[in-house]
């Protein structure tokens, strides 16, 4: 059977590839991603399952699933032109992706299907740093985290649990890493941008609390606190935390090896290995 061997929480700031190219391998972002890449390589992953919030690029307001799985041999990205990011084609595992979707639906989650799809920076930017050769296949699981109404945190955690069970029931011996992509507090393009910037961190106190809950494995508290109200209080893309919560559901209640914050961006880099 397939085994989940690690959980990762990753940021996906679209301008990071540009900054790292400009500022070199000793800048903070390069080092934080390099540390995670080293941890990821040590897990020898066969497949990455990534919980992600599409930024209205794979889907749009004409057809917006709360949950969806990408099921195909490959997908492409980024489709939203982040600077200094090449066009990638990423392999996937459609039979396992289809199995995850089937098992989640059987468990009561109405998970939409997407095929022949492309993805945006929210999946590609972390992979650009963590698996730049794109040698590890990726299965995206999409959670609607920007446009209200958001799925409840407890529901996202339970989806993660269902995905974890689906992986455990897959007959091939694969080593699976589960990732959650996104910020804890971030406003993009809205009135809570910092002066002169295109983004801002409206609720740094929430970032600190989220990191404490993650470090202490206080998952129930995190879920209880991560109401829709709190997520939007933390910014118009604050719902991206739901991807981390789904990842926690998949890996089970564990303490992380580390959660390294980048407070000025309202996000963190987390590694759970065992």
């Amino acid at each position: 059977m397939a085994n989940i061997v690690a959980g990762f929480g990753v940021p996906h700031t679209p301008v990071f590839p540009f900054f790292v190219k400009r500022d070199g391998p000793n800048c903070e972002t390069a080092k934080l991603f390099a540390a995670q890449a080293e941890q990821l390589a040590a897990t020898r992953p066969d497949v990455i399952v990534m919980f992600d919030t599409d930024h209205l690029n794979t889907f749009f307001l004409d057809n917006l699933p709360i949950f969806a799985v990408g099921v195909d041999q490959t997908f492409t990205g980024p489709n939203d032109e982040p600077r200094e990011v090449p066009d990638y084609t990423i392999r996937s595992v459609p039979d396992l992706a289809g199995h995850i979707r089937r098992e989640a639906i059987t468990a009561g989650f109405d998970v939409a299907l997407t095929q022949k799809f492309s993805v945006d920076h929210s999946i590609i930017v972390p992979l650009h740093f963590l698996t730049p050769n794109m040698h590890v296949p990726v299965i995206p699981v999409f959670i609607s985290g920007h446009v209200p109404p958001l799925p409840p945190a407890a529901r996202c955690y339970a989806l993660g649990q269902a995905v974890g069970r689906a992986i455990a029931s897959w007959p091939s011996a694969l080593r699976i890493v589960v990732m959650g992509s996104g910020s804890f507090s971030l406003e993009v393009g809205g009135p809570r941008m910092a002066p002169g910037r295109s983004d801002g961190v409206p609720d740094p106190d929430w970032v600190t609390r989220v990191i404490t809950y993650l470090e202490q494995a206080q998952t129930n508290t995190l879920i209880a606190q991560a109401t829709e109200r709190q997520l939007f209080k933390a910014g118009n893309v604050g719902g991206e935390l739901l991807n981390w919560i789904a990842m926690l559901g998949a890996i089970g209640n564990r303490r992380p090896n580390y959660v390294a914050p980048q407070m000025q961006n309202g996000h963190a880099y987390g590694v759970w290995r065992w």
């Binding site: 930024h55 209205l56 690029n57 749009f60 307001l61 004409d62 489709n79 939203d80 032109e81 920007h146 446009v147 406003e187 993009v188 393009g189 809205g190 009135p191 809570r192 941008m193 002066p195 002169g196 910037r197 295109s198 409206p202 109200r229 939007f232 209080k233 910014g235 118009n236 893309v237």
Partner: protein
């Protein structure tokens, strides 16, 4: 609900490079065939992103107008206009405008 059209064309500025160029060159011309209310059209052409926000436009999508510098916007102007908006604790407009 033509605010959908506003949101959609914000993303078209990202996706459709010919439309992006047209919006840089002459927004009124580029928007001529679009299904917009008069208020939406006026706000778009004037880069009045605060008014569009009050009509229900998606801020994340409107940021493409600043990123690609159409309708007289850039990051600084966009930032000033959006930051001037009155919002509630969840970042929503305090006053909603009718898109009529």
């Amino acid at each position: 609900m033509s605010i959908f059209a506003v949101n959609f064309l914000c993303r078209e500025v990202l996706r459709d490079h010919a439309f992006r160029a047209a919006m840089k060159h002459d927004p009124a011309q580029a928007l001529a065939g679009k299904d917009l209310s008069d208020a939406e059209r006026r706000a778009l052409i004037g880069g009045d992103v605060g008014a569009l926000f009050r009509m229900g436009a998606n801020a994340f999508l409107m940021a493409y107008l600043a990123r690609f510098e159409v309708c007289g916007l850039n990051v600084d102007i966009y930032n000033q206009r959006m930051r001037a908006e009155k919002i509630d604790e969840l970042g929503r407009p305090l006053v909603l405008d009718q898109p009529a």
